[in-house]
Subunit: 194 residues, 2 copies
């Protein structure tokens, strides 16, 4: 088989494995099984299992970049830009790309060698989100249960990213970020009331 086809099959196998089984079970034998080839090919083509997983992450990042650029080019005002961001986020969730991201990020927490690689591949996400930030926020209300759920989620996420960036992440900085988050959330939100 041509090199490109083999690499393609392995990347697809890696993405499927990350999505369905997670990083902990993304072993060479498991991925090669899905790709229908020998596990040694992973080391021949990508050097290591982590090398393959990073290549899979590259593909996810590139797909997102292309999709987002296309939507941005069509946007004529802020409202459309925000809608484009929402669309890309939603598509990533449905494609399972968010799950792949989360797996690689949490894996990087326990793997110093993986950490800078994953952090570098995360930058496009952040830059793209920054682009959607203009305009003034408006206050909104929501259900307390959802608010409670949300705040727990937010601090978990901030903690994960802080570890990734080798940021000591003192409590004060986390709370400052939490505060600044609110204007973006208002920007994203079309909801009203409880």
């Amino acid at each position: 088989m041509a090199t490109a086809e083999t690499r393609e099959a392995l990347v697809e196998g890696a993405l499927a494995t990350l999505r369905e089984k997670g990083y902990a079970h993304a072993s060479a034998r498991e991925i090669a099984g899905r790709a229908g080839c020998n596990q040694a090919l992973i080391f021949y083509h990508f050097g290591s299992v982590d090398g393959l997983l990073l290549a899979a992450l590259d593909r996810v990042a590139e797909l997102r970049r292309v999709r987002y650029q296309a939507l941005v080019d069509e946007s004529r005002n802020l409202k459309e830009l925000v809608a484009a961001a929402r669309t890309v986020f939603a598509e990533d969730l449905e494609l399972g790309h968010t799950a792949v991201l989360v797996e690689m990020i949490t894996a990087a927490q326990a793997n110093a060698a993986l950490r800078p690689e994953v952090a570098a591949r995360l930058r496009p996400w952040r830059g793209f989100a920054a682009e959607a930030l203009r305009g003034t926020p408006a206050a909104l209300l929501g259900r307390p249960e959802e608010l409670a759920h949300g705040v727990v989620a937010m601090f978990l996420g901030l903690e994960l990213l802080a570890v990734l960036d080798d940021d000591p992440a003192p409590a004060d900085a986390l709370f400052e970020r939490a505060g600044s988050l609110s204007s973006l959330l208002d920007l994203f939100s079309l909801r009203r009331r409880s």
Copy 2:
């Protein structure tokens, strides 16, 4: 040694390991080494490594409950209640308890048996956050870079919690929660301007 002392040493060793090395490296041999005893004691006293880690999570949750209850009892109005919540969150970060939480949550993603156990021990956190929710929010502005960082963090966290709860987490629900989050963030934030 008395049973209680041994269990105490093992729980402390488990917490230190989770904090410094993460779930992936929280092996029986590693934890027992820190506790200064044989690895077989983990299975004698806790049945399994995960059993010990859940016991460690129990301790973290109980400590938080006690600390928070004490602060709530002293609060006379909403402002003091919110301040109490901030204090507990900040203390958890400094104690490394947040890191332990994140490790167990991300580990639960790839371990179906662990998932409901961790989810159950997470409930107190959510309930406590819900208690701080009253009053009306005010709009705030922040730096775009921090907003970008924050929104990425938030969606990661929502995704993690959605997996934990066996929630299919459709994109619409995530965005609704993101919207409702803003009022809580305003509540937590004492910041102003860029």
